[in-house]
């Protein structure tokens, strides 16, 4: 009997897209947790996660390890880590909180280049100009017909988290938008 081997696949494996002004590609696989916790529990979770959960709207923090925590709501965060597993780190924390592993629920797309903002603005109604959405800003919002979590990772770079089943739609949408992003 041959031994069964499970191979991890992504809905966007091998796909690249873009234009003169922008490159669109899937982000590396990552651990992700959806974290809900009140103010009382934040210090214990900060310690376990090795970062300070941002408590202001649209703020994110990135630890030296690369682990990111994105403010989604007054008591809700999305933690993303391409290396360590935050689920394991919070498992033993003695606080009142809720955590769900959503690593495989989401897929992320990276959009980078001078035309990145224009590409995004083709389908995202939120104000993503520099004052309203500086580097490090993040938000749950919409793009086209789907909900996304948007993060600005650099002056001309964004990370778009969407549900796995919407990944192809999101990718196609961005690919289309890329055509005239420098117009």
């Amino acid at each position: 009997m041959a031994e069964a081997v499970a191979t991890r696949t992504s809905p966007l494996d091998g796909l690249i897209a873009g234009s003169v002004g922008v490159a669109i590609a899937q982000a590396a696989p990552a651990h992700r947790i959806s974290l809900r916790v009140g103010a009382d529990g934040i210090p214990a979770l900060n310690k376990a996660l090795g970062l300070d959960l941002p408590t202001e709207p649209k703020k994110s923090v990135t630890a030296k390890s690369g682990r990111m925590a994105l403010w989604l709501g007054p008591d809700e965060w999305l933690v993303i880590d391409e290396k360590g597993d935050p689920m394991a780190d919070v498992a033993g924390v003695d606080a009142f909180f809720s955590v769900v592993d959503v690593s495989h629920r989401n897929t992320a797309i990276k959009v980078a280049g001078r035309g990145a903002r224009a590409t995004l603005e083709a389908g995202c109604p939120q104000d993503v100009t520099d004052d309203a959405f500086p580097i490090g800003a993040c938000s749950r919002t919409v793009m086209g017909k789907i909900e996304i979590v948007l993060m600005r990772t650099d002056a001309n770079a964004y990370r778009i988290e969407c549900w796995r089943s919407f990944a192809e739609y999101a990718f196609e949408f961005l690919s289309d938008a890329a055509h005239d992003c420098m117009a």
């Binding site: 709207p57 649209k58 989604l72 709501g73 007054p74 809700e76 109604p125 939120q126 309203a132 938000s139 749950r140 919002t141 919409v142 909900e147």
Partner: protein, 107 residues
């Protein structure tokens, strides 16, 4: 596009991120098991549906996901104010110019 102020995000956000969630300040009778059918009907089904100022619940569904309350003019579709869920009902007055404002907010 209409911009709606989310009291939790602290800024105006596009209406596509929001969902209407019914009339605000509808208080659940307590104990609900002891009210009459008529009282239940009034609580559960009957809504004001005014022409003019209305108090509504909204949810920042595709944003911070929080429910909050809003005062909206059903004639102009203008939001007079929004405030956090659980806060007391905000009083509104119409100025001599006909514009609705939060009471004490001026002019």
């Amino acid at each position: 596009m209409l911009l709606i102020h989310c009291p939790y995000c602290g800024e105006d956000r596009p209406e596509l991120e929001f969902r209407h969630a019914g009339e605000a300040h509808v208080v659940r009778p307590d104990p609900i098991s002891e009210i009459s059918d008529e009282e239940f009907e009034a609580y559960f089904f009957i809504r004001d549906n005014p022409k003019g100022l209305t108090y509504e619940r909204w949810r920042h569904m595709h944003g911070c996901a929080r429910f909050f309350n809003a005062v909206r003019d059903t004639v102009s579709d203008k939001f007079v104010t929004t405030y956090k869920a659980g806060n007391p009902k905000v009083e509104i007055e119409r100025g001599e110019d006909g514009i609705a404002r939060v009471k004490g907010d001026g002019q």
